[in-house]
């Protein structure tokens, strides 16, 4: 058996790959699974700071691949949660330091010891992305409800299908219920309609994410914010649990919208 390898990718940068990787890894570990999160963004590493493990780095993924340390030496154990580990990316190298086969080899070594291996992919569709998806058993594409992010996500869906790695599933991040309600943001149905892939989960925009990144504590570890709940739901779905989609908050209708409703009835 061994671990399931899940790669989190997006095409566009800044849509939440690293935040999702950190939180889903932590949420799965909190559910009792043994998890390792791998930062595949060589040269632009960030999973370490988002998880709050930046002070513990001695060896990195490139050291492992080049044989200058053993795999076990690059594994950083998270002391807050049982069974959570992280392998950092190298910061002073570039994507060409690693080939897809290296990622497959590293994951094959880790598989017997873990339940889940989560890979944080770099943005883009070049070698770093190819490295990140090479060992994947399943791929999650994360996007925000913006034209540019959805377009890039679609490109990635196409590439994943062409590689025979599909079907990918979607995490729709940073939804803003009020903007959706007033017709100024694509909603879940719109994005699914356009991308035509399975939905794994939705995550509302939440200030708690920025606070948690400031502190280096993934939201799922310490609070009951909406985003934390959303990531826990997604982790449960990865474990095969049937969790209903999160209800986005319904702000109380203003008097103006009440009148509008009355008028539009006639």
């Amino acid at each position: 058996m061994g671990a399931t390898v899940i790669t989190i990718t997006s095409g566009k940068g800044g849509v939440g790959k690293t935040t999702a990787t950190a939180n889903l890894s932590a949420a799965l570990a909190m559910k009792g699974k043994k998890v390792v999160a791998i930062d595949a963004d060589i040269g632009l590493r960030n999973l370490d700071v988002v998880m709050g493990l930046e002070n513990r780095i001695v060896y990195d993924l490139v050291n492992v691949v080049e044989g200058s340390c053993r795999l076990r030496q690059a594994l950083i154990k998270d002391k807050r949660i049982e069974n959570l580990y992280m392998i950092p990316a190298a910061q002073s190298r570039d994507k060409s330091a690693i080939r897809p086969q290296d990622m497959i080899d590293v994951c094959d070594q880790l598989r017997p010891e873990f339940d889940f291996i989560l890979i944080d992919s770099p943005a883009g569709i070049e070698q770093g992305f190819r490295n990140a998806i090479a060992p994947a058993d399943r791929i999650c594409i994360i996007t925000t409800p913006e034209v540019s992010a959805v377009r890039d996500a679609d490109r990635v869906v196409g590439l994943i299908e062409a590689e025979g790695k599909g079907p990918a599933s979607l995490i729709l991040n940073r939804l803003r219920p009020r903007m959706i309600q007033r017709g100024d943001m694509l909603d879940t149905a719109d994005v699914l309609d356009v991308l035509a892939i399975d939905l794994l989960g939705i995550v509302p925009e939440d200030d708690a994410i920025i606070v948690s990144t400031n502190r280096g504590i993934p939201v799922v570890m310490e609070n009951t914010s909406r985003a934390a709940q959303a990531f826990c739901n997604i982790a449960a779905r990865l474990l095969g649990e049937d969790v209903p989609l999160m209800e986005l908050e319904e702000p109380s209708p203003s008097w103006l919208s009440k009148i509008t409703k009355l008028v539009s009835r006639h």
Partner: protein, 87 residues
């Protein structure tokens, strides 16, 4: 604004609707790697080829890329004026 729109019948599309239709258009071209320029060439060649056999209404001709799920489809709707008489 909504109320005013309703009262005075001004149904401007929301930015969400605009975003969705722009996305659908750009994605269908991305997916098959056909730019609007190439589409025009394709349309011109279609006109030339079909005109060899029948007389068509070029003005009323519609050539579109549409999508159904992740399946893209090229549809051509070409009104025929009359069958060209055989020589």
């Amino acid at each position: 604004m909504n109320l005013l729109n309703q009262l005075f019948g001004g149904q401007r599309p929301t930015s969400r609707e605009i975003a969705k239709s722009r996305l659908q258009l750009v994605l269908v071209h991305d997916r098959v790697d056909l730019s609007p320029q190439k589409m025009q060439l394709l349309k011109d060649e279609l006109i030339n080829t079909i005109s060899k056999y029948v007389e068509i209404d070029v003005e009323g001709m519609q050539v579109n890329l549409t999508q159904n799920g992740r399946q893209c489809r090229l549809t051509a709707d070409i009104p025929i004026l009359s069958a060209r008489p055989k020589r």
